[in-house]
């Protein structure tokens, strides 16, 4: 279970998160919506352990462990996964090699045996087929020259391989065409399970038709200003954020 309490964070003296409270239980899918610049990506980076932010107040625990004490790689080993809004290109690092290194690093950290190359290849082939990630893409350097949609599919492939217990998807739907949206959503839905929690950040109700959330939050100016069921997303789609963001201004 993820518990975020009264989380305040700033970067270079600018307060970005201003007291976030959020509890995500195993098996739940929470959607976070909210205007541009409200702090959604910041929250996801802080969860994943990016070091650029100063946490001035509050706490993050996952399964009872203080996440703020862990480095990014330790958090990944603890089960966290962030699908980046803007997956970064890493020249010189072959996608396949990277996937194997990441998987085996996590296995080693958990005291599990490393996967042999044939077993690993089999696993990647299986998972990449579902996500329509081609062998040619896997041979290329990580994300280099991938189209926007290919990058997002590659993120979900990583998620499927690493099998995290807390998935944070930051605008995974942006830049996807209609077919890719379906492929990616199916990939995500396959991972839904009673043990796995998800936080889905999006601007569009459309994604939530595919990945149906249990809870929807509205984040505005670094605070959760409204929480509701999946119908909240429909209401936002119709009326915009005006009802929720006005009072803060």
């Amino acid at each position: 279970m993820l518990e975020i309490k009264n989380l305040h964070a700033e970067v270079e003296g600018n307060q970005i998160l201003r007291g976030i409270d959020l509890t995500v239980k195993p098996g739940e899918v929470h959607a976070i919506m909210g205007p541009n610049g409200s702090g959604k990506s910041t929250l996801s980076y802080i969860l994943a352990g990016k070091e650029d932010y100063e946490i001035t107040e509050g706490s993050i625990t996952y399964n009872g462990v203080d996440m703020l004490e862990l480095s990014a790689d330790e958090r990944a080993v603890a089960g966290m996964f962030l699908a980046f809004q803007y997956p970064i290109e890493i020249p010189g690092v072959a996608t396949m090699t990277f996937l194997k290194t990441a998987l085996n690093a996590q296995r080693a950290a958990r005291g599990e045996e490393e996967l042999s190359t044939p077993d690993f290849m089999k696993l990647v082939r299986e998972k990449s087929k579902d996500l329509k990630v081609t062998p040619e893409m896997l041979r290329r350097p990580l994300n280099v020259g991938f189209s926007g949609g290919e990058k997002k599919r590659a993120e979900i492939l990583q998620m499927a391989l690493l099998e995290p217990t807390l998935c944070i998807l930051d605008e995974t739907d942006s830049g996807l065409d209609i077919d890719a949206l379906r492929i990616v959503s199916e990939g995500v839905n396959q991972l839904r399970s009673p043990e796995r929690s998800m936080i889905v950040i999006t601007h569009y109700q459309r994604l939530l038709d595919h990945i149906v959330p249990d809870v929807v939050h509205v984040l505005s100016k670094g605070k959760i200003v409204k929480t509701g069921g999946k119908e909240l997303a429909l209401e936002l789609e119709a009326n915009g954020y005006a009802d929720y963001v006005g009072e803060e201004a």
Partner: protein
Amino acid sequence: MTAQNQRVLSAAETGFVEAFAATHGKQSDGLSEARRAAMARFEAAGLPHRRIEEYHYTDLKAKLRSAIALSARAEVAAPGALGEVETQGRLVFVNGRFDAALSNVEALAGKISVSAWAEKAEAPAHDTAAFPRADALVDLNTAFVQGGATITVAGGEKLEKAVEIVHVAKGEGASFSRIDLVVEAGADVLVLESYQGDSGAYLRNTLTTLEVGDNAKLTWVKLQEEAESATHLASASANLGKGAELSQFLFDAGSGLSRSQFAVAFNGEGSNAALRGVSLLKGDSHADITLSVDHKVPECDSREYFKAIVDDKARSVFQGQILVKPDAQKTDGQMMVQSLLLSESAEVNVKPELEIFADDVQCAHGSTTGEIDEDLLFYLRARGIPEKEARKILILAFLGEVIDELDDARIGPLLTSRISNWLHV
């Protein structure tokens, strides 16, 4: 006495002058004349210092403090294989002298002729214009050279496997050796050269001359893996004929102080030279790579591509000069130097110099110096890869680009594994 001679000699300079008087002052060999002339030049000019332009960042007068005796003959065990490279024939030099017992030149018979020597008395009369400019390191080499070899690859011979040249140092002392390599017209050869030594504070001075004949191809890979406390001073020059191809790779990872200077001259049209390398520096090591490319004739391409990893208080110096003479139309000269600083006290000096006297040419140089990209590091760590491992991956990726560009399957794996080994220390 002339004013020039009243210059105060440093301890190191005096050491060389006295060592010369004691060894070569009276005796004679095939090189006596050249030796004496070189020593006279050295005595007049001394060790290069920072007011000499080519040595601005590498002040040898300040860095070489005390006198260092000449190395003695030594016996060593046969050096191990250099790595996963197919080889044929090997020349081994120990403390500057050719060691026939450890070498295997018979394997080269018929295709490559080798004439090697290890004693003053055997010293042949060398071409003394081995380097295009007056240089104290070349003069010291000529004055003291203890052993050498002339290696000639017969015209048209295309050899897939590498010829190994291994230079071993044992104990302290200064060693001087010289290799003259002639690749005759139409021949194709890979030379894999290694410099290695035990832990002594020795000094090595080498001189290499390369003649690449018309339509010949030379791939010259040099592994500079001297002991940490060693000083490595290497000078090389190359002359390229018509349609010749030179591909050079420098793996620059040893010695506390090194200078690798290489001068390439295009003498025949349509030839090309690619000089590449990686420097891996840590501790307080200082590595200087100084290149000059002389485009004398039209339609030649030169490419320089070097990368450096600089950790701790180490310092990397790169100087690259591209000279395009008036006749050298349609020259393509490209130079790129990229450095990755792994510590705040690491230092990099890059000095590109383009001198272009022809109008229809394409020349460019670029350099970048930076640190490991924190965003890339975060991405890898967010996938569960520990920081140390993630850094290694990024460093390998950074250096790998030069090996990829070299695109030579015979030596790529060797270089990659050398880099991985270095990173794991």
